[in-house]
Amino acid sequence: MVHTFIYKHNGQPLYFLWDVESGSLFNVDDVAFLCAVKRYSALNDEQASEYRKISPERIAECEEELSSLESEGALNAPRKISEFTKNAGVVKALCLHICHDCNLRCEYCFASGGTYNTARDYMSAETAKAAIDFLISSSGNIRNLEVDFFGGEPLMNLGVVKETVEYAKSRAAEAGKRFSFTMTTNCLLLNKANAEWLNAEMDNVVLSIDGRESVHNGVRKSVSGKDCFGVILDNAIAFRKIRGDKKYYVRGTYTAKNKDFCSDVLALNDRGFDQISVEPVVLPEDHPLALKMSDIEELEAEYDKLAEAYIERRKTGKWFNFFHYMIDLDHGPCLNKRLTGCGAGTDYLAVSPTGDIYPCHQFVGNEEYLLGNVREGISRQDVRERFARYTVLSKPHCAECPAKYYCGGGCTANALHFTGSPDGCYELGCALQRKRLENSLAIYYIENNAD
């Protein structure tokens, strides 16, 4: 399958062929582009008119080059694997809901003010330690294990986080494991002492800020409804200063209120952040902040605008990474990972404050997907095995998608919320993923082929 696309850089079109099954990328001239469109899909009226103006000799040259690449297996390559089921027997990562309470009330929160529609609750140290024991005993031969402290707001239960980290580290050596810790925080309690501890102990820290002050304050309010951008930004900047080269992300959400989210990404970069992820909100269409399919052209144009600004800034002192424009065409994950995505329900699970296990953080509180408890283990292995069968190969809507090996089949939670099934198609999410992939590929080409 060959995907053809155009990216406009500095107002000029760049033409690309993307071979989906091999992961090969080609930059072509306008003539070869039209020949490829004709060969692999269909010319529209305007393209057909342009094609008719090309001399037979040039068309023959292009056809020969395309055929040559096909014979090398670099273009229109066949699918290399037709069946795959993930191993549902091991766990390598847990998202610990260390606290079902939050000191913010964000309008778009999928966790309903941090509670996940359950009682406000804090995980005990005993439950957290049982979760670590469960992870170690369920991890088989996997050596590198991950624990993500999530909420609600995990800094509201930092004492238990600290106990959990110490316990995991103490068990790691005897168990032959290595733990990586991540915390996702809204920064409100990220004072100097907490920042220093997180910097020392966390392998990754995700700081939630939505970009411009007006955008952030518009949707991320304190419990009493007050603005909080000032204190959050100060805390995040102070953390960034001590973080050095260690891993962190500033992570924002864009909604229907800021479809001009490029300005939010750049605002975060202007504040000194260089690892940035700003993502589309996921809400039902009747929510006032929801993004809709009718927004798609506007959102795609914004991703183009961001890509151009990204390319320019990365040449300057304002270099930064945008999470969804990072792509490594030379290495990247293995095909198994590309077929299965995040591993929700199989090797990645979430744990509620009471120790209940769910496929991922977005399923917590949905009793239909309650998989077991960290003390008693998995009681619904049948559900895990169902998730293990959700791969790029099993989802009909993935078959013809050029981005399928870059999203791993998409988010099962989003699919469930929009279609009623974890292997359904969340149409808007898929469309945006495709756009971000095209832009990532174009950025890769431009940055590696500088004039």
């Binding site: 930059n27 070869a32 590198n144 990586s180 065409l329 990247g332 999203c407």
Partner: protein
């Protein structure tokens, strides 16, 4: 080639028989509401290097 320039070719061939499971779960990075795996690294080579170092 006159009309076509290869930017990157055939990456999936090189490593499609791996699947060791040592790489990062994608939701542990920055997503939390979407799914992106294309920007993740293969941990296998890194793991071999690290274990070799620790064995010494």
């Amino acid at each position: 080639m006159k009309h076509i320039k290869a930017v990157s070719t055939k990456i999936f061939d090189k490593n499609h028989k791996t699947g060791c499971g040592e790489c990062q779960a994608s939701c542990q990075s920055a997503c939390k509401t979407s799914c992106t795996v294309g920007n993740q690294a293969c941990a296998k080579e890194e793991k071999i290097l690290r274990e070799t170092k620790e064995d010494k």
